[in-house]
């Protein structure tokens, strides 16, 4: 039994951001799958689970196609040789749990035994944390929901390839920075993740899918694209998102009327739709009531702040919205007018602007420069 690792050396610490960033790149990649490499990874992963590598390999373009294909393959496995014929008759049951989860769990358990709590927490925070947050929470979660809306059943039986970057990064760190031999069992899963998207392992067969062709995010790493899908796959499967909220396609690519917005059942989607058309437009179209007078915007001469009441049924809680102009001009020389939401008990625009920075009105009035 080797000694437990209780602290990282400076060299090992230097690898924390390196390995984190590599896995972020893997998790967010929109490159075409390297199919040969992925298939070699599949073979390694099967062997690591004590299974024979599959002889039949099927590639599809998206997790959505994969979920449908996997459902069909499962049916084929059930009817077996009768209609399957010589090739498809060899497809057995799904082995995703063995190939993905079980090997991972075993390796995880071995790492636990060899690494002290402090090191474990450090690697979790500095490697896995961000990769998990950006890839698992932001991307995988939305793709899963979108696939799940259309094809239930096979979503949870997949191994998520590049979208497993979060937990794979954690074990990969111990393999590369600490040379923990137990983590070599992850090589197959790592290799598939580095080269492909979601995949479904069967006895005798594997169904692999490609990575997205497009991925767009906002400054806070949430899925977001103002004119098209935030994630798109080669077969047209796509997710439309507004600052991390999954929204209908026509909210992004079409133009919702005020009536469309007000009658949409989901408050979060309504909020996205309002932001999409712009609060200044929505305030007029929806006939919202102005609160207090127009107030000159401190340090933004010639521009005015306005406060409007947003009824409870729009946001599911009473709020108000402050309209203001950017202090810096846009490319075309105009100033972008935008809305920022504030609590409903604020009674005038200056107090509202001050609240957004945690100030009182008399403090905000002292603003000297705005850019």
């Amino acid at each position: 039994m080797t000694r437990r690792i209780e602290a990282l050396t400076p060299e090992q610490e230097a690898l924390l951001p390196v390995i984190r960033d590599e896995w972020l790149t893997i998790g967010l990649s929109t490159q075409r799958a390297d199919r040969d490499e992925a298939i070699r990874g599949v073979a390694d992963a099967y062997r690591a689970a004590g299974l024979d590598p599959p002889r039949i390999v099927v590639w599809l373009d998206s997790p959505h196609a994969g979920a449908i294909g996997s459902w069909m393959l499962t049916r084929l496995g059930q009817v077996g040789g009768q209609v399957g014929g010589q090739v498809w008759g060899q497809v057995g049951g799904q082995v995703g749990d063995q190939v993905g989860g079980q090997v991972g769990d075993q390796v995880w358990g071995q790492v636990w035994d060899q690494v002290g709590d402090q090191v474990r927490d450090q690697v979790r925070d500095q490697v896995r944390g961000q990769v998990w947050g950006q890839v698992r929470d932001q991307v995988w979660g939305q793709v899963r929901d979108q696939v799940g809306d259309q094809v239930r059943g096979q979503v949870h039986r997949a191994v998520y390839g590049q979208h497993d970057a979060g937990w794979l990064s954690f074990l990969d760190y111990f393999r590369r920075a600490c040379q923990l031999a137990c983590c070599n069992r992850m090589n197959g899963l790592n290799r598939v993740a580095t080269n492909a998207g979601w995949w479904w392992p069967y006895t005798g067969a594997v169904l692999l899918t490609d990575r997205p062709t497009e991925l767009h995010r906002d400054g806070q790493t949430r899925l977001h694209h103002e004119t098209g899908p935030a994630i798109a796959y080669a077969d047209g499967f796509a997710v439309w998102a507004w600052h991390g909220v999954r929204v209908p396609r026509d909210l992004i690519e079409g133009r919702w009327s005020t009536q469309d917005i007000l009658t949409h059942p989901n408050a979060e989607v309504r909020r996205c739709a309002i932001e999409r058309v712009g609060w200044d437009v929505f305030v007029n179209d929806a006939g919202l009531r102005q609160v207090g007078a127009d107030e000159p915007d401190p340090a933004n001469p010639g521009h005015y702040l306005q406060l409007y009441d947003v009824p409870e049924q729009i946001y599911e809680q009473p709020i108000r919205v402050l309209l203001c102009d950017n202090a810096t001009p846009e490319r075309d020389g105009t100033r972008r007018r935008f809305g920022i939401t504030v609590p409903a008990d604020i009674g005038d625009p200056i107090t509202a602007a001050a609240w957004t920075f945690g100030l009182r009105a008399n403090q905000y009035r002292q603003l000297q420069h705005a850019y």
Partner: protein
């Protein structure tokens, strides 16, 4: 007073091409904002604030880092300037500009903001959503 062009040459942070490069950048010790970032003088906050201790390196310090570099507000030093990150609620950190020094906040879409001697709290902006959230501009 230095011009935007001058500061771009010194610090290397370029700004969007449509913004005025000949403009002089005022240096202020008062309350200022740059997009969703507020520079709050300790005297305006009216709260005792210890001076910052960590020197701002020549490459600057990102007080907010945009993921794709898009929304990075970079703090730059002209002379002895110190900044201690202290993220809590709206506060991002504490800035101290020594006598005779100037700090600049640079952002590609907002240009440069000049900050004179004094101690400041750097804050970000919030809005009311399902819960209170930080503004994403």
């Amino acid at each position: 007073m230095r011009t935007v062009n001058d500061l771009i040459e010194t610090h290397g942070v370029d700004i969007d091409p449509h913004l005025d490069r000949q403009a002089a950048v005022p240096v202020s010790t008062g309350l200022q904002r740059q997009g969703d970032i507020l520079v709050l003088p300790a005297v305006v906050a009216n709260r005792p604030t210890a001076n910052a201790t960590r020197a701002v390196p020549p490459a600057g310090v990102a007080v907010v880092r945009g993921e794709a570099g898009g929304n990075t507000h970079l703090l730059l030093a002209d002379g002895p300037v110190r900044y201690d990150p202290a993220p809590r609620d709206l506060t991002l950190g504490v800035l101290t500009v020594e006598d005779g020094a100037t700090a600049y906040l640079a952002h590609p879409e907002h240009g440069y903001a000049g900050i004179g001697p004094g101690t400041y709290v750097i804050r970000r902006q919030r809005e009311q959503a399902e819960q209170i959230r930080i503004v994403a501009d």
